[in-house]
């Protein structure tokens, strides 16, 4: 379980996270929505320990990574898969090596790694592209390779940072379906950060709205469109107008 208690993070004088409290239950998919610059990515990076909070606790399976030493943090980070907004594929190595990167120091044999890479690429509907380099892939394919890389070492948690941003509607739909199918296949706990309301409702059980560095509402996804919370309604209206 992920538990965030009273989390603060600032950059210079700008307060980005202003006392976040949030619990993510085992096996659920929680989506955090919010406008640009509200701190969604910062929250995600703080959860995985890429950013250190100024104050507060991030408790992963009972371990507070905000106060953990480097080795403990590394051990906890291995429980996570992270899909970066711009995929963050290693551009000097091919797709196979990208997906196998997290398995380099595992006890798996070369054959097992090959099998696993093929398997996870098939999970994201990619076949026979192991030899290709990231620069040869489309945006949607890069996203899916990044997803295969994130799940290749069987993480317990997957964090998705804007998984559908920058994709055409059809590819965005494919990625959304992949998130759902991975959730069903791997039974992981997921946090999705997005401002795509449609995708948020489709993939998650609960949706939290982040505004001005605070979680201002948490709703069951099925109730989101009928929420009585003014800020949620305003966000949805704005999202619909943009849509």
């Amino acid at each position: 379980m992920i538990k965030i208690v009273n989390l603060y993070k600032s950059f210079n004088d700008k307060v980005v996270l202003d006392g976040i409290n949030l619990e993510v239950y085992d096996g659920e998919t929680l989506t955090i929505i919010g406008g640009s610059g509200q701190g969604k990515t910062v929250l995600l990076k703080t959860i995985i320990g890429l950013l250190k909070p100024d104050k507060g606790d991030v408790i992963i399976d009972g371990i507070n990574i905000a106060k953990a030493d480097k080795n403990t943090l590394h051990a906890v980070q291995k429980k996570f898969g992270y899909l970066f907004q711009n995929s963050a594929l290693f551009d000097s190595i091919n797709v196979f090596e990208n997906v196998a990167f997290g398995l380099r120091h595992s006890n798996l044999s070369k054959e097992e790694i090959q099998k696993r890479v093929k398997l996870y690429l098939s999970y994201v509907n990619l076949y026979n592209i192991e030899h290709m380099y990231p620069s040869e892939l489309s945006g949607g394919m890069r996203k899916r390779v990044a997803l295969a890389r994130a799940i290749a070492y069987n993480p317990s948690y997957i964090l998705y940072d804007e998984p559908t941003t920058g994709l055409d509607p059809q590819t965005a739909e494919t990625v959304t379906d992949l998130i759902i199918s991975l959730q069903q296949k791997l039974k992981v706990t997921s946090i999705v950060v997005t401002h795509d309301i449609k995708a948020a409702i489709k993939v998650s059980q609960r949706i939290a709205l982040l505004s001005n560095g605070k979680i201002v509402a948490i709703e069951e996804s099925k109730n989101l469109l009928n929420s009585s919370n003014v800020l949620v309604r305003e966000f949805i209206s704005a999202a619909m107008i943009n849509f």
Binding site: I48, L50, H74, F84, A88
Partner: protein, 251 residues
């Protein structure tokens, strides 16, 4: 001043973290050998060409100066070998590597930083210090002295060619001049410097790349800064290193 102090402190911590992870080199040996090849083999030609040219010009200048003072080109080989082995060999090799390799390392690591590839490594259970930084520092530290030795040899040969063509000094005289007054200490003087230069360039270039901020523009800024800081650091440290080594009786 405050900014410089913070930056310098962060650089020292970065070096500390890199050196305490030096033993992780075995698990990242593939990357280490790739870097050896890239830095060493890739820079070999340009490094020896530079040294060859410098050896020739040193011989020419030393010969002309000697003729104007002594009416004969005396001790030309000694001037060339001492200048190259103790001073110019390590310095020139290091400067060539700053331009050819260090700038590229900063740009590569900087691009990886701004495109979140370094963050991605953490999320994949890999410490980028062990995977990216340690192999580069180790490779530099080994390659710079080796390249320096080759540069010294080629530079002395370059001087020898000019001494034969320009001043009619027979090769055996030049060769004896070059080596007779040279002791093992002098050789180690240059070698120790080249090792320190290798550490200096690699840590600066890796540091600048690893902490790049601000997108493509930031990568450009970091690369320029790497070249400037590396060369200035080399020149300043050269004086203090020379003084220290002389005080210790090494050369």
């Amino acid at each position: 001043m405050k900014k410089f102090t913070i930056e310098f402190g962060r650089y020292i911590l970065f070096c500390y973290e890199s050196f305490i992870n030096l033993f992780s080199i075995y698990s990242e040996r593939e990357m280490f050998f790739r870097q050896i090849f890239y830095i060493g083999v890739g820079s070999f030609t340009v490094s020896i060409l530079t040294s060859f040219a410098v050896g020739m010009v040193l011989c020419l200048q030393a010969g002309i100066a000697s003729i104007s003072v002594l009416n004969e080109p005396a001790y030309v080989g000694t001037v060339v070998s001492f200048s190259l082995i103790k001073e110019l060999g390590p310095m020139l090799t290091a400067v060539v590597l700053v331009g050819r390799v260090a700038a590229a390392i900063t740009a590569e690591l900087g691009s990886m930083r701004v495109t979140e590839q370094i963050d991605a490594m953490y999320t994949l259970g890999t410490d980028p210090i062990k995977y990216l930084i340690v192999p580069r520092i180790a490779a530099f530290t080994i390659v710079v002295p080796i390249l320096t030795i080759f540069s010294n040899i080629v530079g002395v040969i370059g001087g020898g060619i000019i001494s034969i063509i320009k001043f009619d000094i027979p090769w055996n005289i030049y060769y004896r001049d070059a080596l007779d007054y040279l002791y093992l200490d002098d050789f180690f003087h240059g070698l120790i410097k080249s090792i320190i230069f290798g550490i200096l360039i690699s840590t600066i270039s890796c540091y600048k790349g690893f902490y790049t901020e601000g997108g493509a523009e930031g990568v450009g800024r970091a690369t320029t800064s790497c070249v400037v800081v590396s060369i200035v650091s080399l020149l300043i440290s050269d004086y203090f290193l020379s003084s220290l080594l002389i005080a210790l009786g090494i050369g």
